[in-house]
Symmetry: C2
Subunit: 407 residues, 2 copies
């Protein structure tokens, strides 16, 4: 067996992949060269640990450690994703994958022999940065989204998902990862808020994921000359959009929830033309399903009112909506007690939420983020906290892979 | 000599070039295949009329009709442009070129023998749709912009102007069109407002072009997670932009001027990320240089105030500003009297403004636009009005090419 890389060495190996020289951020979109390089990196790290890696038809990966005592049993899967948002940070996703591999090393160094298999996995297109559907890999594996539905998705250049997957040398007909042998799922992730900073601890467990979703707002008006068209004769969808973006912010602020317009597309997008079409995506999250519905309804209502005033038209399409996810509370309590870690909620979606929704007992381990900044080149975690995360994950896996009952 | 095409036949020939099947609008960006096709079309039409066409080092074209009696004299140039805004209309530009050729036919059919040369010309990149600098061809020819400055401009894909020009098989070192022999310039153009509709006439002359310009607004904030970042912790440049777009509209409306944000670029433009950067272009126009300065200052001030509130940063760069252009008033009065045509202002920039600024006596002929819509697939003019425009342009050229003094 080849010598394995420690966490810090793995982290250095990952650092340059898909990194923008100008911003320092990452562009690790699924089924691109950068992501294919990451898939190879993961496979090599697994092989170096003597773990046979299995890559499914869309690029999800898993490698199982099955000592003789664990053979034939269902086991605990840990891992995360390697893709990034556009110009994202280094930690969101890869931290969970590198920590999973390092935790296996830690358990082995401790001489721990699991009674159940321990798997390390990677899910594709978690961010939805290319095809607009977050957690696409885990959704397909759990059946939350079907391949027939997904294959028709297109990226911003009009490429079909099916063609992107085929272009990466993968074949969905070869089948998807089976979760049949997964007894429990654990995802380690950098925290994307400042709860752990406020509590002055390096590690925490997740209680729940807020309900959240993406809605596409198509504001249609009439293209016209920006100079000669009197202001009162215009049907300018940019105005309807602008008011809607401000309204979404205000509604979320007042309600203590979240609403963001971070992605926009303008037609024809010419300086001297009133636009014909502005398409904008609302990302909204709230502390309950009802609060989310109320928030989105309020934004839609204000947008429609303004569209009437501007003489524009508005169509709203829900592209993906995820209800509230409550992680198994007994599991969270049991695992939190291992290190006296706090149990905190998150507003971010994760593959863990999809697996939990599919009925798999699931937990998340968070690692402190000193600024709370995420989805940004500025995202950061201290190495000492990352190493504490590896230790915590090893403790969690040891607890879960210990036979508690005669199976 | 080949038989020449009449106006309607030329119009049919032009109809499919660069037309979008989905919107019906035109994408005739400079130094692209569509534009190269238009350049060939123009050259063929000139040759069919026995006019030798000269193409300069960046693609401006001119063909002179020089009867024996006119040899050695300075003459009248007429023409317009063939490029379009993104998803633009059929008439803005090409109407002036096809009408110029048809007016030559009309003069010849009338048996008219000019005492001065009559030239038909085409200027490149009038719309600034690719390199952001409106009237680039005429600016280079008049020296208002230098080649050393222009060659460094980049399009949205990062292509340098110099490379785009070379890629179209042109060589700027070969020199630019000379305007030395141009005594007077006349540009026929579809009207882009509804003055002629309101006055119930098919043709008008231009009095002036409103001062106008393009300003780039760079709103910089901090990229962050759209779900986990509390609303109060954000530095979201989209909010600063949205308020600025609404403020620009309101300021222009109150002042009876024009302000438009029709072009936008967002970084990283991801649904689940607060943007790090929103770049937006303000197109502003006003009835006087002072009113324009006041309008832009008011928008900038409100934008800066909001940036302070949002914790974002704003940089404003004037990309091109054209002062008021008053066309030669005696010339306009003299030409208007030929047909009893009204003399009206326009808010749109034209190559005619650049040539007028360069000290060349210049006039514009407008053709009625029934809806006033322009820079849009919906732009339209009735054929009967276009033919009236050709007759009017022929009358204007006859007046200008008649020897009035012993030269």
């Amino acid at each position: 067996m080849a010598p394995t890389s420690g966490f810090e060495e793995m982290w250095r190996d990952l650092a340059p992949v898909g990194r923008s020289a100008s911003s320092g951020g990452y562009f690790r979109q699924p089924w691109t060269t950068a992501e294919s390089e990451l898939r190879s990196w993961f496979a090599e790290e697994c092989v170096a640990r003597g773990l046979a890696v299995e890559t499914d038809g869309i690029g999800n990966q898993v490698a199982w450690w099955v000592p003789a005592a664990a053979a034939g049993r269902r086991g605990v899967l840990t891992g995360s994703h390697l893709d990034s948002v556009l110009d994202g940070g280094a930690y969101d996703g890869p931290l969970g994958v590198a920590s999973a591999l390092a935790a296996v090393d830690t358990l082995r160094a401790r001489g721990f022999e699991p009674d159940r298999p321990i798997g390390v996995g990677v899910f594709v297109e978690e961010e939805g940065s290319r095809f607009g559907r977050a957690c696409l890999g885990s959704r397909l594996v759990t059946g939350a989204t079907t391949w027939d539905e997904a294959r028709e998705l297109r990226d911003r250049d009009g490429v079909f998902l099916a063609d992107a997957v085929a272009g990466a040398g993968l074949d969905p007909e070869a089948g998807l990862l089976s979760l049949d042998r997964v007894d429990t799922f654990v995802e380690l992730h950098v925290e994307q808020g400042r709860d752990l900073v406020d509590r002055d601890v390096a590690v925490g467990l997740a209680s729940e994921i807020w309900p959240h979703g993406r809605w596409r707002f198509d504001f249609a008006g009439q293209a016209n000359h920006a100079g000669t068209t009197r202001m009162e004769d215009r049907h300018d969808p940019m105005l309807t959009y602008a008011m809607t973006a401000l309204a979404a912010n205000k509604q979320a602020r007042l309600a203590g929830q979240r609403a963001t317009f971070g992605r926009l597309s303008v037609e024809p997008n010419g300086t001297n033309a009133v636009p014909s079409l502005v398409t904008a995506w609302l990302d909204a999250r709230a502390s309950s399903d009802e609060a989310l519905a109320t928030l989105v309804e309020a934004v839609e209502r204000q947008a429609h009112d303004r569209a009437e005033r501007d003489g524009t038209r508005l169509d709203v399409t829900a592209e993906s909506v995820s209800g509230s996810v409550a992680f198994d509370p007994d599991l969270a309590t049991r695992l939190a007690s291992l290190g006296g870690w706090p149990v905190i909620p998150t507003q971010a979606g994760h593959d863990a939420g999809i697996l939990s929704d599919a009925g798999i007992p699931t937990a998340m381990v968070f690692v402190r983020n000193p600024t709370g900044v995420s989805h940004s080149p500025d995202e950061h975690a201290e190495t000492v906290d990352c190493l504490a995360g590896v230790e915590a994950l090893a403790d969690v896996l040891a607890e879960l892979a210990r036979r508690r009952d005669p199976a």
